[in-house]
Symmetry: C2
Subunit: 211 residues, 2 copies
DNA sequence: TTTTAAATATGACCATGGTCATTGATGACC
DNA sequence: GGTCATCAATGACCATGGTCATATTTAAAA
């Protein structure tokens, strides 16, 4: 921070200012109702400058997501849940994550909107390792592998696939919940689904079928 | 069709023309690269007229999705798969659905984009019962309930939750596949995940944990 | 047939996200 | 401290999705 050129310092400062002003305006009026013009005016920069820092308006959303995620991911290292069964650990983690999103539904909606968008247009995609999606999968994967060691998870499963499935269910449940406007159901919903995933759908007593 | 007023006939004709021209242009240049101006010009109508028929450009995508889905859903009534195990039936159905989307990847990407969008803005949402998402869940649900009767699926599970989980996994796998640009992996991927879902993640031999 | 009311079509207009040639600030080098 | 190449800031400009007051067409009433 000290041995930085004036240019570098200014750059960081400008980016931060854009970020702060955006956050403030999004909270006040929502993501959709905030225009680039407003952001740049409030930040005291020209419109074009914004696009020197963020390729699109939507790409801003990722930065919020990342920031929020940072607060949550510590949970996995939290010792108070260390004694729990793998299933409960995963549940706790996903519910906590969802609850943090719950606080800013509008921005969260925009995140999923943008998630869809960057499928089509990788230009907006953030750094692969930083992106919330990859991090979530990785965290679940770690928990599962730990669970396999403890024999709380089937040794025979492919942990990577299982992580993707859990992630899919989490993601989808969140989408449904965002759509439904009912604030209450999410944790119950995700819990029931995780139970189902751990127990399986198929009837193991039905010997009439194999593989 | 005969006892229709001139007005009604024209309306239907115009809507169909918009639909056909859109499809043609989307195939030629992709959804994003086709403008409303082009569509209306090619269809011989004014720009405003378009919005008398479709509230947004994106809402068009749903009509394509519906149309495509109609071709696929007959599969569930297809007698050639009637003898299969519930798991295989579901697999076959989801793979077939995905393969039909595979043929028009650009439009499919736009569909998922729009899926995200209408979470935020219900204005674009199509009729609830017609929408591909609801239909998919309902179809899976039917298959599962049939499977419960045949004891190929655990009696104890909530079929509705299981259907949502399967749907989530399907949806998510499709998204990942759309993103990855690898044409080959989808059916393998979804098959592995369905296997996992039927078998379960938890280790049933680990008696040290219950519920 | 003429009048009237309602449905539909129209395109000028607007808002806003995004671009880019130009201008200005910075710092490496002499 | 002056020169110049590089990097960043700027805002006029553009493209495009979407709106709306007005004009036109149709159906019904008189």
């Amino acid at each position: 921070m000290e041995n930085m050129s004036l240019r570098e310092k200014k750059k960081i400062e400008t980016k931060n200012r854009i970020f702060e002003v955006s956050g403030k305006l999004f909270k006040e009026k929502g993501f959709e109702n905030t225009t680039i013009d407003e952001i740049t005016k409030e930040a005291g920069i020209a419109k074009g400058t914004f696009f020197n820092y963020f390729p699109t308006k939507e790409s801003l959303v990722f930065y919020f997501a990342e920031q929020k995620a940072d607060l949550i991911y510590d949970l996995t290292e939290n010792e108070t849940i260390d004694h729990l069964h793998t299933k409960e650990k995963i549940k706790k983690f996903l519910v906590a994550l969802a609850e943090s999103y719950e606080k800013d539904k509008d921005l969260t909606r925009s995140l999923f909107f943008e998630y869809g968008r960057y499928i089509k247009n990788p230009r907006n995609a953030p750094d692969k390792n930083r992106n919330p999606h990859s991090r979530l999968i990785k965290t679940i994967l770690d928990l599962l592998e730990e669970g396999i060691e403890k024999r709380e998870v089937k040794v025979s499963i492919d942990a990577r696939i299982a992580a993707e499935v859990l992630n899919a269910v989490y993601f989808h449940t969140l989408v449904v919940w965002l759509k439904s406007d009912s604030e209450l159901s999410f944790s119950r919903d995700i819990s029931a689904k995780i139970d189902l995933l751990f127990g399986g759908i198929g009837d193991e007593y039905n010997v009439g079928y194999r593989s």
